[in-house]
């Protein structure tokens, strides 16, 4: 019990320190704390001293809270009291015991205490007291130090309080360094710590009679205190967990954004992250003037900007990413280039604004400009895991404003949706005005600009009718080279006022609505498709006017029998136009990238004349073989009984 009394005692001191120390920081009203969805709120009597508080907690609160959930906010005093007499406290029950820890205090209208209001994040907090201005006796007597700094060792905070600041975190070789800057930096500091993370803290520059102290994992989940001294540097090393690895290969689309997602549980934190970007492009062919050589981008990726967006609940199951604001003070990063890419390390502060609690999720986007062939991986200490990271990509929701307007009647029209995101799942709303016709969603290949009409891509077309408003989901993205056609058919008898309104996310690009008769979209053969896009037959379709369109809507047949028969020709066509380009392979299991370079240059470099001699000889053999075969072919033409047409052979 003595141990916990001490814990409560120390925590109480924190609160009092805060109350006196932060007059220049934003004040929070009591409502801020009441509205954070904690069910257990207790109005207690006024306690004028620290001892009173400790006794009250032990005698009246803990026994009751023993049967309650894990965390609590305790209000000391009541609304009628003057602000100087009112305290809030966050109390936590230990996992496997009936013991409680007072994790933080808040002073009503007593200014920011430096903590965010998210109690979960307080568990990894270390508070540093500048002990040059107080000692144990003083805080036993509730005399407070003049200088105090709060450090969250999930990251490191950067709030500045009077003369004492904690410097920006820098990461070198996965170790975090931070400076404690104060006029008393070479004095004594007591570190009160509590952590449930795998956290190792060491100090350097230790002087005087104290030795460096390491807080190791065995001490986690306890509040303790270490008395040490150091000059001005502490080494901090929080754990970063790998969240995502992804390889984007050249497909005419740049990987525009790398997105980091954060959940509610990350609010109040400062997130440390490390983003490794490997540039897989081969720039050896680039002459410095061309943007592209042999389908290979010659523009190197770079970090253009960082943006933050918030997912807002619009009700009725609709969400919207808002913001898209450029990150200023919220992010602090450094870029270190290496031979084949660069590494971005830094931190993202999610602890500066209680308004964040109005949002569902946070997205931080890194715009890499022209990243065509890149592999990236990123690690951070957020609550998102490598297992659930992808589900956050589906939180791409709707815009309020209308993005498409399809007015014309008497035509079948379409529009094309594409995106820069590697994977993209989104809801789309369609509103029908004065029309009862139908909408089809068809997929196409963004890389080859070909229409994916095969049923194995999408088994049945999305199909809507006779509804005022429909909502459907599309799944596209650069990682699978899929775009989407939104295709509608309007009856002849439709009114001229017939319209379709589409509501699509801002992350989608869309073409202007086109009449199919004017389509310039190319089919698999590379020929212009002037017939428009085939509408996938639908068994449920009951409109008789469509039943006669069996051949009318026929457009191309690069599938089935034709595909097989014409494969050799396409192969020759490919052979005729193809030039060598480096092949990138990702080896399974080890997830390593293997590059197969073009060999001709290597042969010429290493074998010289021998290689040329080899080419002359092989060309001679080939020429002889071709001559003989052509002679045989021509000879066969003279045979009137020979009707064999080889190109038609399977």
């Amino acid at each position: 019990m003595k141990k916990y009394l001490k814990i409560i005692y120390v925590s109480f001191i924190f609160a009092i320190f805060f109350c006196f120390g932060y007059d220049d920081v934003k004040a929070y009203s009591s409502d801020d704390y009441i509205n954070i969805n904690y069910d257990n709120e207790y109005i207690l009597e006024t306690l004028s001293t620290h001892s009173d508080f400790v006794n009250y907690i032990n005698n009246n609160v803990i026994s009751y809270l023993d049967s309650q959930p894990y965390e609590y906010i305790i209000f000391l005093g009541n609304e009628s009291l003057s602000t100087d007499e009112l305290f809030y406290a966050i109390v936590q029950k230990e996992d496997s015991s009936t013991n409680f820890m007072v994790r933080s205090f808040f002073y009503k209208n007593g200014y920011s205490n430096g903590f965010s209001i998210k109690p979960n994040n307080l568990s990894k907090r270390i508070t540093v007291f500048n002990s040059t201005s107080f000692n144990n006796n003083e805080y036993e007597n509730l005399n407070f130090p003049d200088y105090i700094e709060s450090i969250d060792f999930t990251t490191t905070d950067t709030w500045k309080y009077q003369e004492t600041t904690v410097g920006t975190v820098a990461m070198v070789n996965n170790d975090y360094y931070s400076n404690l800057n104060t006029d008393f930096a070479n004095g004594y500091f007591t570190i009160y710590y509590r952590t449930n993370a795998d956290l190792t803290i060491t100090s350097s520059g230790v002087s005087k009679e104290f030795v460096p102290v390491t807080f190791n994992n065995s001490e986690k989940n306890y509040i303790g205190d270490k008395f040490l001294t150091f000059d001005d540097v502490m080494d901090l090393k929080p754990n970063l967990n790998l969240k995502k690895e992804f390889t984007h290969k050249y497909n005419n689309n740049t990987l525009k954004y790398i997105d980091l997602y954060f959940d509610n549980n990350d609010y109040g934190k400062t997130i440390n992250f490390k983003l490794d970007i490997i540039d897989n492009s081969d720039y050896s062919l680039c002459n410095g003037t061309s943007s592209f050589v042999n389908g290979q981008s010659c523009i190197r990726p770079e970090l253009i900007r960082t943006q933050m967006a918030f997912l807002e609940d619009y009700g009725n199951g609709l969400y919207k990413w808002t913001g898209g604001i450029t990150l200023g003070d919220t992010i602090d990063y450094t870029i270190k280039s290496n031979d084949n890419g660069f590494t971005i390390t830094g931190k993202i502060n999610l602890d500066h604004d209680l308004n964040l609690f109005n949002y569902k999720k946070i997205r931080v986007s890194f715009n890499l400009g022209s990243a065509y062939n890149v592999t990236y991986s990123y690690s951070d200490n957020s609550t998102i895991t490598s297992n659930n990271i992808d589900e956050y990509y589906s939180w791409m929701m709707l815009l309020e404003e209308q993005r498409l307007n399809r007015i014309d009647y008497n035509y079948t029209k379409y529009t094309i949706l594409t995106t820069d995101y590697e994977t993209f799942s989104s809801d789309i709303l369609v509103e029908y005005v004065n029309t009862s016709k139908y909408l089809f969603v068809e997929y196409f290949d963004t890389e080859l600009s070909t229409y994916l009409q095969n049923g194995n891509i999408i088994s049945t077309p999305n199909y809507f009718s006779n509804r005022d408003i429909e909502k459907f989901t599309i799944n596209i993205g650069t990682s699978n080279n899929r775009g989407v056609y939104l295709l509608n058919h309007l009856k002849n008898e439709e009114l001229s006022t017939s319209k379709y309104y589409f509501y699509i996310p801002e992350d989608l690009y869309f073409s202007q609505t086109e009449s199919l008769g004017n389509s310039i979209y190319i089919d698999n053969t590379g020929a212009n498709n002037t017939n428009g896009v085939i509408a996938k037959p639908d068994d449920n379709y009951e409109d008789s006017s469509f039943a006669n369109d069996f051949f009318n809507t026929f457009q191309n047949n690069d599938f089935g029998l034709s595909a097989v028969i014409s494969s050799p020709l396409r192969f020759i066509q490919e052979l005729n136009s193809n030039t060598c380009s480096t092949i990138d392979l990702t080896l399974p299991y080890v997830n390593k990238s293997l590059q197969l370079p073009c060999m001709t240059e290597i042969y010429e470099k290493n074998f010289g004349e021998v290689f040329h001699l080899y080419q002359i000889i092989t060309t001679g053999f080939v020429a002889y073989w071709v001559s003989v075969r052509i002679y045989a072919l021509v000879k066969n033409f003279k045979n009137p009984e020979d009707d064999k047409i080889e190109v038609m052979d399977l």
């Binding site: 590379g526 191309n556 595909a563 192969f571 066509q573 001709t600 092989t618 080939v622 009707d643 038609m648």
Partner: protein, 98 residues
């Protein structure tokens, strides 16, 4: 030369499609699984084709030899169709004449 060969191949592929279109459509609507299987087979060849440039580079064969091979196969796969078409036209003409 390259443009000429491409033009011929495109022409022949169009002719092939003209002949097989009704069969393809029937297969698509009556035996969709078979249609998918056939398409998948063709897709495999297409995938192989994407790496052909590198394979040629690996073999070290000169571009002249490659052009000869392409020209031969173009001739082999296209000329018989033209000859056959001419023969067919002559047969029709003879039939009509009678």
């Amino acid at each position: 030369m390259e443009t000429f060969i491409n033009a011929i191949i495109t022409l022949i592929m169009s002719l092939v499609k003209l002949i097989t279109a009704p069969i393809d459509l029937l297969i698509l609507n009556t035996l969709p699984d078979l249609s998918n299987a056939l398409t998948s087979f063709a897709d495999v060849l297409d995938i192989i084709g994407t790496g052909i440039g590198w394979a040629i580079s690996l073999s070290g064969i000169s571009s002249t030899a490659i052009s000869l091979i392409i020209a031969y196969y173009t001739f082999k796969l296209t000329t018989p169709l033209v000859v056959s078409t001419v023969k067919l036209a002559i047969k029709w003409y003879n039939s009509l004449k009678l």
